[in-house]
């Protein structure tokens, strides 16, 4: 089952896609989100979001700055102020 992942900045929607897993740099430590994760909300620190397109694939890293992550029924949403692809 894929995880729906959205990355949004004030200027535009950067990503909206189905992925396997995303590792998010939370303020209190990194956490990985898979499909079916419990509802969760966390602020994030500046760092890299790692996107695993499929299991075992090389992660794609996206540098984000300032924001927070929300895991809900519709998957993972990362709201970041700055994104460097």
């Amino acid at each position: 089952m894929p995880l729906h992942f959205e990355l949004v900045t004030p200027a535009k929607q950067v990503r909206s896609e189905e992925v396997h897993m995303v590792v998010v740099p939370g303020t209190e430590g990194e956490f990985g989100v898979l499909e079916g994760h419990a509802p969760f909300m966390s602020t994030i620190r500046d760092g890299a979001v790692q996107v695993y397109k499929s299991e075992g694939a090389e992660p794609e890293t996206i540098e984000v700055k300032g924001g927070f992550a929300e895991v809900g029924e519709n998957g993972l949403t990362v709201l970041a102020e700055h994104v460097e692809a």
Binding site: P10, Q13, M41, F68, T77, L79
Partner: protein, 289 residues
């Protein structure tokens, strides 16, 4: 009756004015499309943010709520954040905004409140200064950058929150143009600080876990929310400016065209009159011989 030469010069000057307004109209039309796209692209972020705010604000309430949400406890001193454009040639946009700001100020003063202004953009400065010379708290200049973006919104929000923390005002209102179409841009006033409690979204059964904590997240979220509001205002301003400019310049171009037609007819009439007089003179001279 103006002489032929004067008329000709007049036609020439109206023609070159028409060229300018036409060029400005086309530039505005091109920029409008971009500004509109930018305003639309910013919407998902704002929507998400308010949704999250809604679900959080419902949970954190009472005394533990951060100051930005709860307010200072009084509503004596009001700050009007007025977002104007930097450039003119956009019809009644700026004067409508200023009118709205003055109306709000008058209303608040009538209620016995203190009012001060925080001006964004150049065009609001002069008219507000004329009426409220001592009440302008700050002026934020956006004319140095080509298209104001998130950095500017960031800077404005930081300054506003700093002023709020320094206890310089109790309530801040944001007055900005609301872009509806190229023809309609209405000034709207919304409360900015303290952040109006968003309607709590219907709680889903799922228990959401928060990291670090609900309050900490809310505390971080509120400045971000203010920032997003300002960013939205800047984008709307951009779209409104271009829309209003396009409409105003379209009108101006058409008026110039009408004026040129009228002047040309007048010019031709007086030319014919001059020729007729000359002919009569020659004929009369020949007959006298």
């Amino acid at each position: 009756m103006a002489s032929l030469k004067e008329l000709k010069d007049r036609i020439g000057s109206v023609k070159s004015t028409q060229k300018i307004t036409k060029a400005k109209q086309m530039v505005a039309a091109a920029k409008l499309r971009r500004a509109q796209a930018a305003a639309e692209a910013a919407r998902p972020y704002a929507e998400r943010l308010s949704a999250v705010m809604g679900s959080l604000a419902g949970k954190v309430s009472g005394d533990s709520a951060p100051k930005l949400l709860a307010g200072t406890g009084s509503d004596k001193r009001h700050l009007l954040v007025l977002v104007n454009t930097d450039k003119g040639l956009c019809g009644g946009l700026n004067s409508n905004l200023v009118k709205e700001a003055k109306a709000q100020a008058k209303k608040l003063i009538a209620e016995g409140k203190d009012v001060s202004f925080y001006l964004v953009g150049k065009k609001g400065r002069a008219p507000i200064k004329r009426e409220y010379p001592n009440d302008i708290a700050k002026h934020f200049d956006t004319s140095t950058v080509r298209t104001p973006g998130f950095e500017e919104a960031d800077a404005i929000a930081a300054e506003l929150i700093e002023m709020f923390d320094a206890d310089q005002f109790d309530v801040a209102h944001l007055i900005r143009p609301e872009f509806q179409s190229a023809l309609v841009q209405n000034p709207t006033t919304t409360q900015l600080i303290p952040v109006p409690s968003p309607e709590a979204s219907e709680d889903s059964d799922a228990v959401v876990e928060y990291e670090p904590g609900e309050e900490e997240i809310l505390e971080e979220l509120l400045p971000r929310y203010v920032k997003t509001q300002l960013f939205g205002a800047l984008l709307e301003r951009e779209a409104s400016e271009q829309g209003a400019s396009m409409t105003a310049m379209d009108n101006a171009t058409r008026n110039a065209g009408d004026l040129i037609n009228k002047l040309t007819i007048q010019y031709n009439r007086s030319r014919q009159a001059a020729i007729t007089t000359e002919l009569i003179e020659i004929i009369a001279g020949a007959e006298a011989l």
